[in-house]
């Protein structure tokens, strides 16, 4: 019966091509707009490391001025000072911990064919690799002992290894950066992060790192952060004074394996700040925070307000398209009262008429969904060209393709329900009289 109804539906749709085109186009536009925005929204906001996002916690300590808070609504600063980062690293109270900051260094390749270039990197501790799990192609991370020794070691990204060594296993070779030689201990495989969630301060869509080296080494060679730096009072003159100051420029992450550990760590942070208060630091009331990955992304508004407004608007647009389709289907089905009357008089039950017309709406929905899918693809291309930094969040994956088609059919069937219900209430006698 399904095949027969499908055939009837297609024939009926062919009979009024303009009306059919209007309905299909309406659904396709609505679906295209809402799925484009929804894809961006979903990819931006989705958990970047779902298997352990609740175990990774960002450390916020409120060392700000007694007169003014760091952020609006009483938030502590979004980074920590060098002093505090080193104190927390030395105490080592978490299951894993990594302080980190953004650096950039001039690379002087040995190969004379490759021009010197600036590379964006991250100074961090060896735990970084176990915490954020970048995949290694060759070698391995440096060890904790090398953190302690300020070792001149480096982990290269896949692309940097490609540029400097043509992609071969370069472990053991050296890379010269700003006059210092670093030994390669590891090379990453391609690591594509949708959101650079471990450093939201310097941009969730910032470029990926080209190298990683020990935090302690970067400090010893007096490398300032090339990322955000905020001070509530002047740090004083010189490098040592800067390290000792209340300026914040370091991101501090800890891994805590259970909620109990989170509580313990929070207690430790509070006692640490109480100790510091005795030294005259931390003039503000106790305000330490330990948001996990998802909480931190929400706090930092990774999903921009514009994207949220666009999603809302696109769905309102879909509703208008659906109302439009309801109206048009209603018009179409009402005109076929005679046909319905005839079928009913010849013995078709209400159920059968209902099924027939519902399948016809379903066909409209499916075609609208398929065209909508194409429009979503085009929409994402458009979004990518409008927002260059969103390249990683404007891809359709299978989940979104299936959602699109399901949404389209659901939308068309919802839109078809009322007109269909009206259609099968046709009284056969009233139609056959004339």
């Amino acid at each position: 019966m399904f095949a027969y109804y499908l055939q009837l539906g297609l024939r009926s749709l062919r009979r009024n091509p303009i009306l059919t085109a209007l309905m299909v186009l309406g659904i396709a536009l609505g679906i295209g707009a809402s799925m484009t925005t929804l894809t961006v929204f979903y990819l931006m906001g989705s958990d970047p490391i779902p298997w352990k996002s609740s175990k990774l916690h960002y450390v916020q300590l409120d060392n700000w001025s007694p007169d003014e808070g760091a952020g609006s609504d009483g938030r502590p600063p979004d980074q920590v000072t060098y002093r505090d980062a080193v104190a927390l690293m030395t105490a080592g109270k978490a299951d894993r911990q990594a302080a980190m900051y953004k650096i950039s260094l001039p690379v002087q390749p040995e190969n004379p064919d490759v021009k010197p270039f600036m590379a964006l990197g991250r100074a961090t501790y060896s735990d970084f690799f176990a915490m954020f799990e970048p995949p290694f192609a060759y070698g391995q991370p440096w060890g904790r002992d090398q953190d302690a020794q300020h070792a001149r070691v480096i982990v290269l990204s896949h692309d940097t290894n490609e540029t400097l060594f043509g992609g071969v296993d370069s472990v053991g070779k050296t890379v010269r950066m700003d006059g210092v030689d670093y030994t390669v201990v590891g090379v990453l495989a391609k690591w594509e992060l949708r959101i650079k969630y471990y450093d939201l301060t310097n941009g969730a869509f910032n470029n990926p790192e080209e190298f990683f080296l020990p935090f302690t080494t970067a400090i010893e060679t007096k490398r300032r952060s090339t990322g955000n730096n905020s001070c509530w009072r002047s740090p004083g003159a010189g490098w040592e004074a800067y390290l000792d100051s209340d300026c914040v420029w370091i991101q501090m992450w800890v891994e805590l394996d259970s909620p109990a550990r989170v509580e313990e760590y929070m207690a430790y942070l509070n006692s640490y700040v109480e100790e510091q208060k005795k030294l005259g630091r931390f003039p503000r009331p106790l305000n330490n925070r330990l948001p996990d990955v998802k909480q931190w992304m929400a706090d930092q508004e990774v999903v921009s307000r514009d994207v949220e407004v666009q999603v809302g608007l696109a769905f309102a647009f879909l509703v208008v398209c659906l109302i439009n389709t309801i109206g048009l289907l209603l018009a179409k089905f009402t005109r076929r009262a005679g046909e319905i009357g005839l079928r009913r008089a010849l013995g078709a039950s209400r159920r059968q008429v209902f099924m027939q017309f519902l399948i016809e709406s379903g066909v409209v929905g499916l075609s609208g969904g398929l065209i909508g899918l194409v429009l979503t693809g085009l929409g994402l291309v458009a979004v990518r060209s409008l927002y260059r930094q969103y390249a990683n969040v404007t891809h359709l994956d299978w989940a979104m393709v299936m959602t699109t088609i399901a949404l389209a059919i659901l939308a068309a069937i919802l839109a078809g329900l009322y007109p269909t219900w009206r259609a099968c209430r046709v009284q056969p006698a009233a139609q056959l009289k004339m």
Binding site: S234, V320, C321, G327, L386
Partner: protein
């Protein structure tokens, strides 16, 4: 024209009327709010930066290796830049308008003041700074060559003279007619010495376009080097920017090989990048508005065609009883007007409801009242245009139809 028969006809097809009305209502609410957001973005984007945007560009140099002497490299580079044909002015600086990255701090009126009087961006420039930015000095004087110091990020002492924007001067010294000669302090440190305002520029934006202090900028006479790096701002003679940009890159690259040049960018490019998100938002909202109006118009055409088809006999009868073509045309136009108006009234309320929601959730400003009446007029026009085709078709139904059976 009698409205009663139209109303009673409408009452018989309530659902269709509600559908069109709802569509019109949602369209009005969305279009008003979207247009308002577009307007706000356009206002943001058209604010002048205060600098010469057409002829300026910047380039950064990062030296490497142990023997790199940044201070002599900078003075050699500046001499080279200023000797190039087509260069009108060149300076070192640390930041620009429209770049979203720079250095800001608070200024105070007294040493040890607990909260600062104003927040401002710092641009460290040499004696060509005002000219290179293309800013307009409206009071006082420019920096002199002997006032220019050299500093690294680790230095603490600040220059003793400064030039500020009019907006910053107004915030610092609201009651002073001529701010030239006034003094201020950097931050709230007790031991700092005061600095004197020597000049006022009309405007020069801070780097952060969405900051509330975007008009507050302080020019300071110093060459600021971040370790081994330096950044140059060049103003070319009118119309020669692109040619000079190429020339500058080539000449700087050959002049000193132990460094990397990067960030060669014109100010116009900077503007288009910094406002990329706002522009994207206006384009996306604009597309939604167009699509929405299109769908709504097509919906009205579809429904009106359906009604005309459904009432062909009735129209024929009316024509046979003496109604003119104009009567029939006006009947459908009036019907559309009534439905649209009902929808618009609901839509007006909805538009303010959306606006309240945006205000509550995103601290957006309130929708100005005039958007809704303008939206009314536009959608009335759209409705009348959409119904015109089907209504004209209805008016051409011959009276003889009444006598035929279907």
């Amino acid at each position: 024209m009698e409205i009663r028969p139209i109303l009673s006809a409408l009452m018989r097809s309530k659902v269709s009327m509600i559908l069109i009305g709802l569509q019109v209502a949602l369209t009005l609410a969305i279009v008003c709010n979207a247009l308002f957001i577009i307007g706000q973005r356009l206002d943001l984007m058209k604010r002048p930066s205060g600098m010469n945007e057409a002829d300026t560009f910047s380039i950064s140099s990062i030296g490497f290796g142990q023997g790199f002497d940044v201070q002599s490299a900078i003075s050699a580079d500046l001499n080279l830049l200023r000797s190039l044909p087509g260069v009108a002015a060149a300076t070192t600086t640390n930041a620009f308008p429209l770049s979203n990255s720079g250095w800001s701090s608070g200024l105070s009126l007294a040493p040890g003041q607990r909260t600062s009087t104003a927040n401002t961006a710092f641009y460290f420039v040499d004696e060509s700074g005002v000219s290179a930015y293309g800013a307009e000095l409206v009071a006082g004087r420019d920096f002199k060559a002997e006032e220019i110091g050299f500093r690294t990020p680790n230095d603490e002492a600040m220059p003793r003279v400064a030039i500020m924007t009019r907006a910053l001067a107004k915030q610092m010294f609201p009651d002073v007619a001529d701010p030239v000669g006034q003094t201020f302090y950097f931050g709230g440190d007790d031991e700092s010495e005061p600095a004197t305002v020597i000049g006022i520029i009309d405007r020069l934006q801070a780097p952060w376009v969405s900051a509330s202090m975007v008009e507050n900028t302080l020019l300071l006479p110093s060459v600021l080097s971040g370790g081994s790096s330096s950044t140059y701002l060049v103003r070319a003679e009118p119309g020669r920017r692109d040619e000079v940009m190429k020339e500058v890159e080539d000449k700087l690259a050959t002049a000193n090989r132990s460094r990397i040049l990067r960030g060669l960018r014109s100010t116009e490019e900077r503007r288009s990048q910094v406002y990329a998100e706002d522009r994207a938002m206006t384009i996306i909202l604009g597309s939604v508005i167009v699509a929405l109006l299109g769908i709504t118009a097509l919906g009205i055409v579809g429904m009106a065609s359906f009604w005309v088809a459904q009432r062909t006999r009735q129209i024929g009868t009316r024509r046979a009883l003496g109604a003119t073509r104009g009567d029939i045309l006006r009947y459908f136009q009036t019907e559309n007007f009534i439905i649209t108006t009902v929808g618009l009234i609901a839509g007006g309320i909805l538009a303010y409801a959306f606006s309240l929601w945006l205000m509550d959730r995103y601290q957006a400003p309130r929708l100005p009242w005039h958007y809704v009446p303008i939206g009314f007029v536009c959608l009335w026009a759209l409705g009348q245009l959409a119904v015109l085709g089907p209504a004209l078709r209805a008016s051409r139904v011959p009276p003889a139809v009444a006598t035929r059976s279907v």
